[in-house]
Symmetry: D4
Subunit: 149 residues, 8 copies
């Protein structure tokens, strides 16, 4: 068994690196959105031409990013969605809902402060973790049957 | 043509009432989540037994609410998702993603301040409105071909 | 909102009657398998001809019953699966798996003694109840937003 | 033609080893649930934190195991489900129902004593075998057209 | 529970009339192909213009008939396919395969002489009957739980 | 049998009226896009606010119209797509492709001059007609088995 | 582009060999049912135990063969179905219907004598050929754009 | 991440070559229809026999081409549809609609003169480009996160 895992959500900490480093040696393909905030915001206008109106500036970029995001989610067996401490992160919750409707296995990753606000998202998940290394432990167990420690 | 419309999201203003009142006379069935905040939070434990741990208290409630939410979204032709000024509203973004993956027509309703944070959600929508009466105008036009004014 | 609810599983107590009586006045269509044990066992051979081999006797009946069971599950929004104290009840667990794969909302109904053995089935459910009237309370809440008491 | 086969059900005898050994040389990928009973029961709490309530202890574990189970079933062409002499084995019947709803080819493996209790499960299968080596014979025939003997 | 039943296959005996008459009083909607052989053969050219080449004459008619056939099969819960004594009846077997791939409940109706030649078709069915009244008995049992006699 | 028919394409002649008038008395629900050219072009900006850039003006309108178009196509059993003498009519061909991918029965309606340019569209259809009354004849035959004349 | 092609139908002439030989050098994976008539008829009882009743003898075999047939059809991009001069060949027409419902590209191969009897099957196909080498020419053209001669 | 991209539409300029050359080094598989206009028009009759009637000549060819087109679209993650200056190009719009209904990511490529006529097609797309190299920039960004310049 091999897994395809999509790492959605927060882009300002190194949680993706912790997971991919921790999962070294496991048969997992990781995908993720573009995590360069500036490139992600401006990709639409940089390629397809400037927009004076910020709304359409954002629309162009969000739709170009959607090509990658949808491919990543649709190819995945497991979607990990990380909610950090800052920002609205509605795109992370949107990805979680999108993945849930496709029947993907969801792992939600967040600190205890967000638990109540994320209760509907957590309720659609097969695991709710607080630390990236717990995600690694889950993926290792799923693939090998080995528990940590 | 008749429409089934699900009104997802913010539960602290009267936007649902504005839409259903404005749409009087149109052949539309409206559905929505339970909007009684207390009942929505406590439905799980009130029916299935208390939980000392708040996480499972929330889980029980969120899953009972999911019976209604999924039915409402799956039956709908159009999902309107309202983002208000307060709270994280991740469940609203989750519903939007869920509906998008099912190929439903999405209308997103929010003030201009949220535009950048909602750009991925808006990019999946067929309309982005600021006022509930614009949603009514869209629904009337879709059903009758008549524009306002 | 109206619900179509399929009541699967145990056929030797009056739990279906408790639910349908308790739900009187709610906009719910209930369906269920044939609960006459003898008719259910013998329907295949009674209609299509006797089989000397019990295996094919059972096969003929189980396939005729499957016409009703599949229709009931596929039409349903909510599947309630009751596990009683007796028998293997593998058909109940089969129905639960079938419904889960179709994305139906599952409510599992069983006493606390079965909790560990049913953990995989419960884990796919949106609610786990011990009493039929809890199922009624859930259905009433889903349709009306009203909690008991 | 190559086959992906998922071996679901009983974990206390060596039936999986008999099948994989017997099928050596055939172009088959086998998958299975975690068959270490203790690890399977405790994986949720071992990774995600202890639960004083056994119900949630079980839920956490069952949902982590579901990541593997669903992946295994969804990737498979053929699901073999083994019912042994002990335990309720409702998860095996659940897997069979889940696989049936996805249109997978089912092979059910059980002794003659269980035939009546499994009639609905058997009726959804393309083969009902009593011995692991019959499963091997079926898989060899499906891939090569060769019959045993 | 109500059923939608599509009656496919042989058009030269009164088996459809026997079934619909026998099922009087049951909540069943019956559909069927156009059973006027001449109209069925010529509908394409009669409406859309003559074709000198018999192959295209047949194509035009078969495609117009497919509008009705597909609608009938896709709307149905149960497909009854009758194989009579004459003709190739490949369209009947085609309908059976089409319905099987859609997951419809199949009842095959034929005399014992055809059993071996129809073994693959029968193997996809939930019931194989020899007489139209057996089909009526199945439908009555599925809807009411009552066995004949 | 009743039919839901969506009438897509050209909006400058009375072909829709000819079909609906000709089909009077048949159990058919007809739907169509908004055929008021001006309203269709301007619906987006009229409801959701002006756009200085014609591209986004058009985008807003096309997306609002898509709510109606998708609902109409997805609800339909049969899609009739009319290609007239003028304009590019790419939206008509788009609707035809959209409907084909959903497995809908397609009837294409156009004059002989367009036959070569429409060969790929025609090749996906179950009927190609030149006159609206031929479409009526097809619909009557599909529902009643009666041929014209 | 590579193609997966399933060769269904007649098993008494060398048409499959003609196609696979003719297609040498093209990037095509061919699959087919077991074409050893005796093995195909007896596989069920040879592996799973004798049946005194011919009907169940046939059922056991047909269901074991269905494991291969369904895998072959579901994996295929193109299904070629050959109707020969002998036998009822209902399984071939069943496969064609099954493949059509799954949206597979169908090529039907038969002599001109069968054209009228196969008109519904042909009408669901993208090509109707009389000779195996025409099928090779189609496959070569689809993959390379090269026409014969 | 790797992408499968289908290049649909105009066949009289070198836009496909510009894209595939520009994308060299990226992990992309490109597919396209047969772009030899003569072969594409005549493939049906060249292989399956001449037709005196141009309509059926075209039908035979269009259906053979559909084997390739459908395979190309169904395998693709991204569909690029190019509208050139000449011809009706209804097949391009048909492909766009077909791909949209399958939920594929669409990029539409056309000059500004066609913007109004293509507004419904553009509205279903995630990007609208004017130059082939913009498509390359999008594909590179989707795969690598790198913006041009």
């Amino acid at each position: 068994m091999a897994l395809n895992v999509y790492l959605s959500g927060e882009i300002h900490t190194d949680w993706r690196e912790q997971i991919t480093a921790g999962a070294e040696g496991l048969d997992i393909t990781f995908n993720a959105p573009v995590t360069d905030h500036g490139a992600s915001d401006d990709c639409g206008v940089a390629i397809l031409g400037a927009e004076p109106n910020k709304f359409w500036h954002d629309r162009k970029g969000a739709q170009v990013n959607a090509i990658r995001t949808r491919k990543g989610i649709e190819d995945a067996d497991v979607i990990v969605v990380r909610f950090g401490d800052q920002y609205k992160q509605w795109n992370a919750a949107f990805d979680a809902g999108y993945a849930a409707a496709l029947g993907k296995s969801l792992i939600i990753l967040h600190g205890p402060d967000h638990a109540h606000a994320l209760k509907e998202v957590d309720a659609a998940a097969l695991a709710v973790a607080e630390e990236p290394l717990q995600v690694v432990d889950i993926l290792r167990y799923v693939l090998t049957g080995k528990l940590p420690g």
